[in-house]
Structure formats: C-alpha cells, structure tokens
C-alpha cells in the first residue's frame, strides 16, 4: 500500500511542481490565470452525464465484483466529538473483519479518525489496515497555519498512514489561490516522517462550500499541483457532501492530470454515500470516466460509516440468496 502511493515526482514545495506547470505558481496572478484557463464545466451537461451513468445496470458477477471492491475501498470513519477510545477500537475491529461470520470478507482500506485517536487505532489495526487522521483544524480549517502544521505533524507522529487535510475555503473563494497552494504544500511537507517516508495526503476540497463545478475543477488542479496524493470531496460535516457529478468532475481532473504529468492521483468521495446501490454508481463513473486503472483502493476510496453494512448485506444476499436483517451485521 505504502509503496504504491509513494510514487516519484510528486509536486509540493520540496518535491517540485511537474515540468510545464512551474510557471503557473510563480505568482498569485499567474496561478489565477492558469486555473481560470482550464476548460469550464457546464453544470447541466455534467449533471446529465452523471445521471446517465447512474442508470447502468450492474448485475450478477459484475455486482459481486463491485461489492467486493467497494468493501476494500471503504475508509471506515468516525469523526464525532463523542468519540472515545473504546468506540475507535470497536471501529478498528470492524475494519479488520467487517463480517465476523464470514472470514472471506476483505478488510476495508483504512479507518479514518481524529488525530488524538490515531495511536489507539494503530494499536488495533497494526499494519493490516491504514489509519487516516483528519488534520488542519478539521472540518472548518479555520486556524493559524502553524497550528494546522502541528496538527498534521502530531497525527503523523502518532502513526497515521494517511492525513486528510481541509483546504482554506475562505482563501480559495476570495481568489487567494497561491495561499491555498502554499498551505497544501506545507502540509505535505509536514507529512514527512524522520525515516524519510511520508504519510499520504488527501486534500479535502469541501465541494459543498465551493458551490460551482468550475471551482471544483480548479480546486482539484490546485491540490494536485501542490502535491496531493488524493483529492477528497467533503468533510461530511457540510451538506451537500459527495455527489455523483462532483465526483465526476474530480475524476475528469485526475484523468487530465495523468495525461499532463503522467502521475496518478486518487479520488475519495465522502459523506452521504450510504447504500451499496449508490456505491456501485460511483464505481461505474470511475470505470467510465477515469478508467479501470482507478478501480483500486489505492486510487479510489469511499469515506463512509453506514455504507459498509449495506455492502455486507448485499454481499451476503448475493451469496445466500436471502436478505438478513440488520441485526445480523455488527453496528461497529
């Protein structure tokens, strides 16, 4: 997992922006020109495309494949003020073995918790499931930069494999793109470990606050230029969270990014994806927009809590031909 993501040549303050894009970050004005020069997104068209892809009918073997893949892509999440160490340990046990009754069910990709829970989570999952920590004054991102960097460093030091940061939406919406860029790059630096490796950085755009698809595309590029390993839709604290068309626009961005730079960046829709049926729609969009290369937990994740049980129920239904009640699946 770790080796897969630590691909060479990622951008960031100490990594170097890919050749050809260096000029774009030479000044705030240059960055604005670059981002505003990206092709626009027609909202009606993007919505229509997502709606059409959502009509794909995924049955039998294809459904089995999708459910299995969906489980492996889940970042099992608890991000509540009321989280306790006991709650996190329970979540981790669930991530390791989502269905105690069926050992053939794969583990989820990661658990996603607040930074102060990382050590607890790490104790349970060890190296079998990644631990992702939200950082940078999640979910609002409203704190001084050194606090955000310390937040990040704290999570990494506690053993986080992945860091989910939020961008400064205020700066983005007021057009201070270079500030957002520099902050992402600085957080990317703060993900470094003493041994030279680094936690992988997911950049949360909080698309519900960016409002337009043009903004989503610009923020996606901005994050990728600054060195994001993943771009993520939402914190889950704002409505709307992940939607199909927003994810479509982000998948177009990572696809175009690879065309431009040769580098792959992952995508993580988070929040509001609760049913297996919805998850399969996302996988169809991944398959047909970004391409099958992204159909892997290294390149696509679901940030979710309740989704996992529905995936398990549907999987059991496919195997046994019968639906079990919710009491046959563990709460966490």
């Amino acid at each position: 997992m770790t080796t897969a993501l630590s691909s060479p040549g990622f951008a960031g303050s100490s990594y170097g922006v890919p050749v050809g894009l260096a000029d774009a970050i030479s000044s705030d004005a240059a960055l604005r020109r670059f981002l505003h020069g990206l092709p626009g997104v027609d909202q009606v068209g993007a919505d229509a495309r997502a709606a059409t892809l959502a009509t794909r009918s995924i049955k039998t073997t294809a459904k089995e494949f999708a459910l299995e893949l969906g489980i492996r892509m889940v970042d099992l999440t608890t991000l509540e003020g009321q989280d306790t160490h006991g709650k996190v340990r329970a979540l981790c046990a669930k991530a390791l073995r989502p269905d105690p009754a069926d050992p053939t069910v794969p583990s989820t990709a990661a658990v996603c918790v607040y930074a102060d829970m990382v050590a607890t989570a790490k104790q349970v999952v060890g190296d079998q499931v990644n631990v992702a920590a939200v950082a940078t004054a999640f979910p609002s991102g409203r704190a001084a930069r050194d606090i955000k960097l310390m937040d990040t460093a704290d999570a990494v030091e506690a053993g986080a494999d992945e860091v989910d940061m939020v961008i400064d939406r205020g700066a983005f919406l007021s057009g201070r793109y270079l500030e957002v860029f520099e902050e992402i790059a600085a957080v990317r630096d703060a993900c470094a470990r003493p041994d030279g490796s680094a936690a992988h950085l997911k950049v949360i755009l909080e698309t519900g606050e960016l409002a337009t698809y043009d903004n989503v595309r610009r923020a996606s590029w901005l994050a990728m230029m600054a060195g994001a390993h993943f771009i993520k839709t939402s914190t889950g604290k704002i409505s709307p969270a992940a939607t199909l068309p927003v994810t479509l626009v982000m998948l177009e961005a990572v696809r175009d990014w690879r065309e431009t730079t040769g580098q792959m960046v992952g995508v993580k829709p988070a929040g509001g994806i609760r049913t297996a049926k919805d998850a399969i729609k996302y996988l169809v969009i991944v398959n047909e927009v970004a391409g099958p290369d992204w159909l892997d937990p290294d390149w696509f994740r679901f940030g979710a809590s309740t989704l996992l049980n529905d995936l398990l129920m549907q999987r059991t239904k496919m195997r046994t031909g019968r639906y079990s009640g919710p009491d046959y699946f563990t709460l966490d």
Binding site: M1, T2, T3, A4, L5, S7, P8, P39, G40, V41, D42, V44, G45, A46, A48, R49, T55, R56, S57, I58, K59, T60, T61, A62, K63, F65, A66, E68, L69, R72, P106, D127, Q128, E252, R255, R258, E259, G262, Q263, M264, L283, V284, N287, E288, G291, P292, D293, L295, D296, P297, D298, W299
Partner: protein, 504 residues
C-alpha cells in the same frame, strides 16, 4: 469494447498488483458489466396484425401482408397487413365519418379527456412500449425507456391541455380543425413521431389516418390497442400499415385535408408534387446535416458528451443529428483526443441490454447506405476511425465512426448519412463557422458550444436552422417547436406552433 482501457499515458506504474502490497490481486482484472437484458416477457407480440380501421383490427382487403423483423437478430417478429388503395380509402372514410359525426362536434374539454387518458395509459404501459420499440427498431432500451416513451406520453399530456384552449393559441378567436389528416412517419422514432403527429391533430379536432414505417409498425399497432383501451370513438385514429405505395395512397387520397410527413427529403419532394394544385395543407419534416459548432472556450468534457449524444444517439438515425462537427482549430486536437477516448467507452450490442449505448441499424437497406457513404468518405480522402469493437454476427450493425480532415466539398459533409458517422471539419473564426454551418442544402438543427452567452446569441441569429441548441444537443420537449429551413422541410411541430398546421 466497453472495457477498453482509456489509459494511454505512462502512469506511475504503481497500479501493478505486485507493488500494491498487502491485498491479493483480484482475479478479475476489469469491471466487466454482466449482461442485464430487459425482459421480453412484458410484451405480447402477436403472430399477425391487421389494419386498425374504425376502431377495429381488420384484415386488408387484398389479404397481402409483410414481415417485420428485429434488426438486432433478423428474427421475424410478426406478419403485418399491407394496406392497399382500397384499405386506405376505407380508413379515410372511417376518419371522415368520425370527424363529421363525433370528433369535430365534441367540446375541446371532452377531447382533452381522451388525450389525457391516452397519455396516462402510455405511461402505465411504458415498459411494454419501450421493449416493443427496442425489439422492432433496434434502438437501445435505455433510449426507448428514458427518451422515446416518456417524451411520447409528454406530447399527449401537453396537447391534451391545449384541446379546450385553442381560441387562446393565437390563431384567431374561433380556430377550426381541418378535417382528416393523412400522416406518414419514419422508422427512427416510431412511437415518438406518432405522438408528434397524432396528439396535436386530435387536440385541434381532426381525425387521422396514420401510416407507420414498414420496418417499424408494431408500436403504432400497440398504440391502436391503447386507443381501444381509452374508448376513443371509432375512426378518430386509423392506422394503415404498408410501404411506400400505402403512403402514396394516404397522401393522394382526395378526402384527406392535411398531409403531415416526416422522412427523407426525396420522399418529401414526391409528396410536395403529389399535393401541388390541391387544397391540402402540408407540413414536411425532412432530412438534415446539422452543424455542431465547438468554440475554443467551450466546456470541453460536456461538448464531447454533446458530440457523442448528437451523432451516436439512436445510432445516428436522427434527422437533426449533429453529423457535422465544426471545431475551432485551436482546440481541434484536444477535442478529437477526448472524443476518441469517449467513443472507446461506448457499448455496442444487444439493444435490450440496459447497458447498451449504441444499438442495431434499423434495416439492411439503411446499413448498405451507411456503408456506401462511408466508403465514399474514405475514397474522398478523409481519415476514418472507429474504436475497436466486436459487432454481433447476426443483425445489422455499424460501429461508431468518425471522419477527420473532411472538407465542405466532400459528399460526407453534404449528404445525410443517417447513421453513426461523424464528419469533422475545422474553422478559425466565428464568421467562418457560421458560413460553413449554413453552407448546406439542409437547415434543421445546429449546436453551439461556448461559455460566452453573447456568442451563443450572435451565432444562433446567424444560423439558418430550425433549432439551435446551446451547450446541449438532441433535447426535445413538447413545448418547443421543431422544424426546418430549406430542404429540411416546412411547418413546425411541437409547442403552440405545432397546432397551426392542424387549424384553419
């Protein structure tokens, strides 16, 4: 074909299962969509069908019939009666009787009730209609289910609302129906074209004799059953099946007051000659060679969707298909790259499969025409490209095809191919785009793709086309008029304007 990877550039190499570490590689490399066929069981196809005259199915006088087949499998679906001149005469007489005795005397409010009832039954039986349309026509079930049938029902709902408000339609304070309408429709949208014709005619108080295309008569005959189910008075709708001769008989009949035709320009010309010198009213909706104009500031991903939807929707069997792509030179390479990548994800095959994007060509005859013009395009020197794909062994199939380096002088830039074949031309300035777009004997539709609102308005004002779509394509709505300039025909269908052709 649908699973063809779009990856062309060198990735990080990190997708190699060997390097992804902890998890075992999945044995199935790709997300192969399993077959998801819509069930044929919902529709009951009879072995033979008569003509629908005066509210009943009757055998044709001459006793002759023809076969209708499924273009995807070449399987014979049913024997359908062939209406002769005598049969057409009986149908027109029935329509006249119904007109004078019942329909023209009925208050608009009552006529509206029948139309609402038909619309509701069409919705109730939508799955049946969609499956039958797909079997008989070859179009993907996704399109018949999500476009054809809902839009057809919407036309009945829309015109049902007009039936008691005709004096407010802007055609005088006491507009009168014309009488008996003879209507001839094509095979590309059999049920939808039927609705475009029958709904406004009935709302305005006319009765109709309709001839569906000989390759796609089945949904019209199911519609006849719906008329029975709705208790529509006998003779208000009559359906006569047959080929060109039957159509000629409908058009030429002395007691037909109005002729409405959708189809090829060639047949349209013949009809115009037939009715010349008579007092029949005529509307013709004929061919097209629409320009889909993509400017360099267009939302490119959506423009590519619009190009695909413009020419590959319904296998390109669309009179308003965006068959000429005019793309600004400065973005031509990028658009072509994206278009080819997108075309590689189109799924071709069993029209009843819910995941099919491109279905079967409607007939062997049409397939031959597409082959002929495509070969001409190649011979003229245009660059031909199709994504790699396996076409079914039986049935009539043609892969989505794009021609690059096409010039205005090429036949594939001027003639209607009526298939999944796109001709790509480039332009440098807005004026050149407009000039090239208008330089066609046709003028049915056009598309403009740009982020600039002022440019949309300027271009739309310059284009001589009946419909101009901005940042979209092939969108249909019953409230919107549709029709052509030049050789694309005359008269408008849809909206308030669509009533004019049926009122005096």
């Amino acid at each position: 074909m649908a699973d063809t990877s779009v990856s062309t550039s060198s990735a990080t190499g990190a997708t190699d299962p060997e390097t992804t570490g902890t998890r075992p590689a999945d044995p199935r490399a790709a997300f192969d969509y399993a077959p998801a066929p819509e069930s044929r069981a919902v529709v009951d196809i009879r072995s033979s069908y008569g003509l629908f005259v005066n509210g009943e199915f009757v055998d044709p006088v001459g006793g002759t019939s023809f076969k209708t087949i499924s273009p995807a499998t070449e399987e014979v679906l049913a024997e359908v009666g062939e209406a002769s001149v005598e049969d057409v005469d009986l149908a027109v007489r029935a329509a006249r009787r119904a007109y004078t005795r019942v329909w023209s005397k009925m208050p608009g409010r009552e006529r509206g009730k029948y139309l609402f009832r038909i619309a509701r039954i069409m919705q109730e039986r939508s799955r049946e209609l969609a499956v039958l349309e797909t079997i008989d026509n070859g179009k993907p079930i996704r399109e018949s289910r999500d476009v054809d049938v809902p839009t057809a029902a919407a036309h009945f709902f829309y015109y049902a609302g007009w039936a008691d408000k005709l004096e407010h339609a802007g055609f005088g304070n006491d507009p009168r129906p014309l009488g008996v309408a003879g209507q001839v429709i094509p095979w590309n949208f059999p049920l939808l074209m039927l609705s475009w014709k029958i709904a406004p005619a009935l709302a305005a108080g006319n009765t109709v004799v309709l001839k569906p295309a000989e390759t796609t008569p089945l949904t019209a005959l199911l519609f006849a059953e719906i008329c029975q189910q709705a208790d529509l008075p006998p003779g208000v709708v009559n359906i006569v099946t047959g080929a060109g001769e039957t159509g000629s008989a409908v058009v030429a009949h002395d007691d037909v007051d109005k002729v409405a035709f959708t189809g090829s320009t060639e047949v349209g010309r013949m009809i115009a000659k037939t009715v010349a010198g008579t007092d029949k009213r005529v509307t013709l909706e004929l061919g097209g060679k629409a320009a889909n104009i993509v400017f360099d500031d267009a939302p490119l991903d959506q423009a590519v969707e619009g190009i695909v939807n413009g020419i590959f929707f319904n296998q390109g069997h669309v009179c308003c298909a965006g068959s000429r792509l005019l793309v600004q030179e400065s973005v031509a390479d990028e658009v072509m790259e994206r278009l080819k990548r997108r075309m590689s994800t189109l799924r071709i095959g069993d029209p009843l499969d819910k995941n099919t994007d491109v279905g079967a060509i409607n007939s062997a005859e049409q397939l031959a025409k597409i082959h002929e013009l495509s070969d001409v395009g190649e011979a003229e020197g245009a660059g031909r490209w199709s994504p790699p794909c396996d076409l079914p062994a039986r049935g009539f199939w043609f892969p989505p095809t794009v021609f690059t380096g096409v010039s205005q002088a090429h036949r594939i830039a001027r003639e209607e191919i009526f298939g999944p074949v796109l001709s790509v031309l480039t332009f440098r300035t807005p004026a050149e785009a407009v000039e090239k777009a208008n330089n066609s004997p046709f003028g049915l539709s056009a598309g403009v793709w740009t982020d600039k609102g002022s440019r949309i308005l300027w271009v739309a004002n310059q284009l001589r086309a009946g419909v101009v779509w901005a940042n979209t394509f092939n969108k249909f709505d019953p409230t919107s008029p549709f029709g052509g300039y030049k050789e694309s025909g005359y008269g408008r269908e849809g909206g308030r304007h669509g009533l004019e052709g049926y009122l005096a």
